[in-house]
């Protein structure tokens, strides 16, 4: 059966890109969730959408413009939050609604690409090109490399920022690294699950793994397993039932979450 489905080039590309995203998202998600930064993923997704709109308008690869705007916004969010002039969530709300407004305005200027933008809103594996797979893989490798560089520092800062600072860890830098990595992850995942659902990919597998009450390392591995399973089965299901890929993935993730929470109660 799987051999059958794999003769379609777009499904293979979708699975390749999907698996890359599935493996990256929980690695960033674990830090965002534990630091109560879950909403940052959603905010950056909306910011990326504005980037996608810019890319479509100017005829540049939308993944790259999404990445550029998300990274720029992540610096802005972190600065606004660190300045303490507005509350953390309010800073996120400003960026979320502001970038969505920008996306809609750009959309109304160049009203030729509405259908295309739709794919970035909800995700589509049909539109994934082999160029996309390459871009996503390169970005994912960059995320993994930077994550490896700062892994221990990130764990310490996430658990106890003050004590980490007293150990001489540059906590400001580590915070910026985390949010920039989140921006990378969000923008590389958008073509697959779409801007509206990417936060789910980053958050749900981690929250599910946290229910299992394991060590940090094992929690990451459980989240990876939940994410991998949901993305692969979501893509295959969406192919056979002819339904939205992003929606199928997130619904399967939620089903896994509910199953685990019942078993672990």
């Amino acid at each position: 059966m799987l051999g059958n489905i794999l003769q379609y080039g777009f499904i293979v590309r979708g699975l390749e890109a999907g698996i890359v995203v599935a493996l990256i998202a929980p690695l960033i998600g674990i830090f965002l969730v534990l630091r109560r930064y879950s909403l940052i993923a959603d905010t950056l997704a909306h910011v990326s959408l504005a980037g996608v709109a810019i890319g479509l308008l100017c005829g540049i690869n939308p993944v790259l413009t999404a990445l550029a705007t998300a990274v720029a916004a992540s610096f802005g969010i972190e600065r606004l939050r660190a300045s303490k002039r507005v509350y953390g969530e309010s800073a996120l709300a400003l960026f979320l609604s502001g970038s969505l407004a920008l996306a809609i305005v750009i959309l109304s200027i160049g009203h030729g690409f509405n259908a295309n933008l739709f794919n970035y809103l909800f995700g589509s594996i049909v539109t994934v090109t082999s160029g996309d797979v390459q871009t996503i893989t390169v970005l994912a490798l960059a995320v993994i490399a930077i994550l490896g560089m700062f892994y221990k520092q990130l764990v310490f800062v996430t658990f106890d920022e003050e004590a980490a600072k007293v150990s001489g860890i540059p906590t400001r830098l580590v915070n910026v690294v985390l949010i920039v990595l989140a921006a990378f992850t969000v923008s590389l995942a958008i073509p697959i699950v779409g801007a509206l659902l990417i936060a789910a990919l980053i958050v749900i597998p981690v929250v599910t793994a946290l229910l299992c009450k394991k060590s940090f390392v094992k929690t990451v591995m459980y989240a990876e397993a939940f994410s991998f399973f949901s993305v692969v089965s979501g893509i295959i299901t969406s192919f056979y039932l002819n339904i939205s890929t992003g929606g199928a993935i997130v619904l399967i993730m939620l089903a896994v979450f509910m199953a685990v929470s019942i078993v672990k109660r």
């Binding site: 658990f159 980490a164 860890i169 394991k214």
Partner: protein, 257 residues
Amino acid sequence: MQRVDHTKNVISVEAISFSYDGERDVLEDITLDVHQGDYIGLVGPNGAGKTTLLKVMINLLVPRSGTVKLFGQDIRDFKDWQKIGYVPQKAVRFDANFPATVSEVVLMGRTSGKGFFQRTTDADTEAVGNALEKVGMLGYGERLIGDLSGGQQQRVFIARALVNDPEVVFLDEPTTGVDKKTQDGFYALLQKLNREFGLTIVLVSHDIRRLTREVMHIACVDRTLTCHSSPEEYLSESEAVCVNGKDVKLITHHHRE
């Protein structure tokens, strides 16, 4: 640990003033030396600035004026943070759902301020074991931190502070919310670390009565340094001289046991 030299300055606080809002000074003109092997208790009423002073001593807060030196070096240039151990106040109030084992928590203390791609080495694993042994928590390494009792968690945080064999350890209100029996064990542990290992200890607490039985020096903070003496001198002086805040009397705690 090398021989303890009680004349050697570990921490020099010179004419520190600190303000959160730039208008009202929380600390004013505080000068205080801590020598090697000292066991000093910072006491004072609520809101008197004792935790603020502790945070200034470890560069978590930057004073408005004055200087802090650690091991003779200006704190702004200080790099030897592995000589410092810190048990934050909120350590006892951390996220109990955080997915980390006791070993993982103590291992965090081995994270260096510098260096990319840091990996856990055999030396790290050995240091974690030694630190857990010192606090009597060997054998709990694989337990989840959130599953332990408050007193056990506190020992784990002390182990994390000890994991780099520091020369001085700072503890902020470590006995908050811990029952009497656990407190006894905790103070016995600090005595052992101070006497046997020559560890310099700076402890913030509001429990003055208890501290006078434990520490070598009492420093009373109420915006200024109102006194700095041995516990005996402190007790013989009129209390009003040292602590004029009305919310601090000699406090005894009746926690459930």
